[in-house]
Amino acid sequence: MARRYDSSTTTFSPEGRLHQVEYAIEAINNAGTCVGILAKDGIVMASEKRITSGLLAPAKTSEKTYQLCPHASCNVAGLTADANILIEQARLRAGRYAYQYQEPIPVEQLVEFVCNYKQFYTQRGGLRPFGVAFLFAGYDEQYGFQLYQSDPSGNYSGWKATVIGANNQAGKSLLKTEYKTGEEEGDQIPDVDEALKLAVKVLNKTMDGTTAAAASEKMELYTMTLDEDGECVHKILNKVEAQKVIDAVESESASAGDS
């Protein structure tokens, strides 16, 4: 029965559902995992790099993390080809805003623009929705550091810490217990270094927790902070730096197991 409504993204099924959109969201749940964590002094994003073949020439730039403008970046889960189209649109929008107002675009406006673009493809006939979910990390004057996630339907939401992609449920439940929101007395939002470790911890869990998973070749760690002039600093940790964080997490969990 559902088959009849599968091929068209624009038609509701009798149960009131849009199957193509739901399938697209489902496709993301098998994609490489991305973790985003809001820190006191920045944002951390960590993503799982899937190695397809040893013969494949390594990518010259990151395939998971993309800078959109001087004050925003995103992590991609899903089809990279689809993501490239959306990233191009986001960069164009950010550039046009800066040209028009000579000021950086507010982060949520940029996110909303990309999501409106995605939503359009769930309504127009004959078009396939974008098979991409994003984590957006951004900074603006009014709201400071912000973290958003978006899905193929065009929905987006702001988070203190979240996970998209494969095993995101497991990752989210770990964050729920380990992330300190700073709302209760005595606890504090983590700083970037603590957030990095927590992100690696989450990735370890979503990547089945195998010992092989905890390798810098399979993880990409990204941080966004401010320098003393208030300008955003985007950084993808190199192999040595990433391994350092991963080792720190490993030794911490080993000593925690002893007690």
């Binding site: 107002y101 000579q102 000021e103 507010p106 009014q142």
Partner: protein, 202 residues
């Protein structure tokens, strides 16, 4: 023919404009308000033919209002507003230019120096200024501003300088400008300080 004056002080901007509306050798009215409120915290004093004056100010004001509506109340800074107005002015220049020269003043709550004033001419040249004048008033008032302006003026001192400028215009300028309207923008928004002819009169 028109006079628009503006000066920043500690905590706001004062703006003044003559209220005459005329063309050729004829005066149409003496109670025109040439200082339009753009947003709750910014205003634009405009000199030029009445048609372009109304067209340009409304176009900018309504678009800034649209921005706030479509972005859940997000406000543009005075800097962004001035650059937006400049962009529109420059785009119009190669089509059918607006023959208007503008002073744009605003107050940004929470910024390091909240009050700011921008000078924009019909060619699309934009400058951030501490004080400024548009029209023939430039010849009469630049020296007054230069002599009397200082950083950390109070509101009263700023109004006094503007009043000095107006007195000078009314003494030395050949064309009669009997009425002036004076407005300010500060932490409480845009308000009228005084006027010669009530703009509400028909």
């Amino acid at each position: 023919m028109d006079t628009v004056l503006g000066i920043t002080y500690n905590g706001g901007v004062i703006m003044a404009a003559d209220q005459s509306n005329g063309r050729s050798i004829l005066t149409y009215q003496k109670n025109l308000d040439k200082i339009a409120k753009l947003t709750n915290y910014s205003m634009m004093g405009v000199s030029g033919p009445n048609c372009d004056l109304v067209n340009f100010t409304e176009y900018i004001a309504k678009n800034l209002n649209l921005y706030e509506l479509s972005n859940e109340g997000t406000k543009l800074s005075t800097h962004a507003q001035a650059n937006y107005a400049r962009g529109e002015m420059a785009a119009a220049l190669r089509r059918g230019p607006y023959q208007v020269n503008v002073l744009l003043g605003g107050y940004d709550e929470g910024k390091k120096s909240p009050s700011s004033l921008y000078y924009l001419d019909y060619l699309g040249a934009l400058h951030k200024v501490k004080h400024g004048a548009q029209g023939y008033a430039q010849y009469f008032c630049s020296s007054i501003f230069d002599k009397e302006y200082s950083d950390n003026l109070t509101e009263e001192e700023a109004i006094k300088i503007i009043e000095h400028c107006i007195a000078e215009m009314q003494t030395r300028f050949l064309i009669s400008q009997p009425n002036f309207i004076i407005k300010k923008v500060d932490k409480d928004g845009v308000s009228v300080i005084s006027f010669g002819g009530d703009p509400a009169d028909t």
